[in-house]
Symmetry: C3
Subunit: 281 residues, 3 copies
Amino acid sequence: MKLITLTTDFGRSEYVAQMKGVILGIAPKVWIIDIAHDIGAQSVIEGAFVMMTSVVHFKDAVHVGVVDPGVGGSRRAVVFSCKRGILVGPDNGLLGPAAHKLGLEACYEISDTKVTFISKDHEVSDTFHGRDIFAPVAARLAQGDIVPQDVGGCIRDFVKLDIMDRTVSSAKATGMIVRVDHFGNMITNLPKTVLNNIPASGIIEVLVGKKRMPARVVRTYSDGRPGELLVLSSSSSFVELSMTKGRATDTINAYPGDIVGINYLPASKKAGKSRKSNPKK
Amino acid sequence: MKLITLTTDFGRSEYVAQMKGVILGIAPKVWIIDIAHDIGAQSVIEGAFVMMTSVVHFKDAVHVGVVDPGVGGSRRAVVFSCKRGILVGPDNGLLGPAAHKLGLEACYEISDTKVTFISKDHEVSDTFHGRDIFAPVAARLAQGDIVPQDVGGCIRDFVKLDIMDRTVSSAKATGMIVRVDHFGNMITNLPKTVLNNIPASGIIEVLVGKKRMPARVVRTYSDGRPGELLVLSSSSSFVELSMTKGRATDTINAYPGDIVGINYLPASKKAGKSRKSNPKK
Amino acid sequence: MKLITLTTDFGRSEYVAQMKGVILGIAPKVWIIDIAHDIGAQSVIEGAFVMMTSVVHFKDAVHVGVVDPGVGGSRRAVVFSCKRGILVGPDNGLLGPAAHKLGLEACYEISDTKVTFISKDHEVSDTFHGRDIFAPVAARLAQGDIVPQDVGGCIRDFVKLDIMDRTVSSAKATGMIVRVDHFGNMITNLPKTVLNNIPASGIIEVLVGKKRMPARVVRTYSDGRPGELLVLSSSSSFVELSMTKGRATDTINAYPGDIVGINYLPASKKAGKSRKSNPKK
């Protein structure tokens, strides 16, 4: 029994089901699991993060990712062969972080039209390669009809996207928001270990864009007071910004790709200084 | 292994799962695939279009549709027997377009209460025939316990809904919006071949309700400039209105069932004339 | 073939898929059905109602519930053994109503770390016990590797939550809203039998918070006039408030846990009296 997972920015729509129909038409016994379809429209960073943190929970699977602003253009379609799974999707950086987590072995460009064949009536659309290219390839890989090197030539210049770009010092940490979840929590790419450096008060300063806000470091969501900005370790071991009885993302107005900083200096002190130097505010 | 697909306007809710519980209680080995549950509430046109364009991607399945404003009233429940599948749902036009795509053979009215039996404790509700009538019938059909003619008498006067009503001439095309997808793209019932008539500039005029707007014909989403209204061929080979970095439906304020027109005359020219003849505007 | 169902307040997100990955890693042949993931964030009442009304539609399954505001705190994790199924989740009242529907036999506290083991690399997070504790326990129960008493000691003082608290007299009924569905319908915990007492006019008075509104008792959604507040029997046999062509919850501004009352006296009469005694209003 082979597994295929799907991660897309299709939202709740029939496009996901059309992919499943194509998959089950070729490989009627595979199981299909939806990872997430609520990736922000065309947010390759968010899709890459969700795939990276989710594929590791599956023992062996073919993972399809479709966050594909360049569909129908010149971007290539690729398959990553990894130690603990296979990835299929566009060559735009979406799959790389997950591929590294699964033990990247090689990347192949999908170029053989035999592996994408659906039926003689089926026309490849310019806007939906998820259904017309990635789905049939994933189905054949999951079923064992083909192996990754059958899809086309091996390439080394696949698009790299560093979603783990960040700097951590003893005074501050700077990274970016990589995911906004259903609750409006903002997950950053900062490792949870930066929370080891917090001051005794538990209050730190968070910077997003031009905003500076005090925030309290807590262990669980239930430790917060309503409306308070919280900093905690996410279930994927990254620093997460949350708000009890509220949506942190709506208050802070920030999205995947935005820079986020954490100053370990107590926010109250800095806020006091800041107010003095801007007396008219 | 038989497949059942579900298309409803239930959104994200437990109602879909209650249907699945009933199905698996009768037919524990069928696979169930969600086509879409984000059909606009009670939008039979949108449901009919989504089913029509999605069922064709499944090789053999029992397709259940539940967009059912008349539930509990006098509308009949029907089963369509087709060359490449079976359809189950309300007799309100929802299933017809999909039935024709799958090769319509006959329509039967569900009237035998044996085929809808769930358990002696289970009471048929007036508001949820998806669970109490369509689900048990679909489960028995998928499992092969019954064939379509077992559900009741053959009928010819089932409700017809022409979601492909449209006129195409050498100067313009008029049809309707049949689907608004998750991205706010508006899919029309105009065939993509009307885009063959576009002027050299690639700029045409789109009419929705009383609004006239210039729009640019492109091949892929990535060809557009931010905020520009785009016209392209959808993944189902229909004309689609889209907006780069925006939601076309929110800007145009139009929904499934609304009339849409395309004038092949360059919009810039017409817009100029229009402005001259309405100098006070 | 064993079934696992999932009910959470995770919305559309990868967290559900991470639970599925853990489950399938331990029990590759179980089937997983999503009951609902749109429970209002941290609304234990709504989750308890959705589970109670949905689990009864499954013949035999392990039902996992994760609406868990106290995750990582001192609340216990529990397994309910029932005549017609097993329930797994937090000890906060979420599972009790469903357990009683399935024939509650015993409750066990999850305390043996062998039953929650995922892999030696996997660290239990403080914020996601759904994936790290409930999923592995449910997978082992569904697969038959363990029975409920293997998870830990039997407890009797599990948290009780009475979501069926209500009073019904010949003149009025008082209960609470327990679910707001995708359409904005508000489902109450009042039994549909209270609708047997309606006056000949079919018009009654509904009270939610400080609001009093006339409402019409109907049999199906299609019996209403646009904008009219309707009272009908829900598909789960509870009293439901609905609005034709509108969202009742948005107009009334009420949520799960809010008190709702029904006066059988004609609303027009009461409204008249009320206006007289408050002439300045």
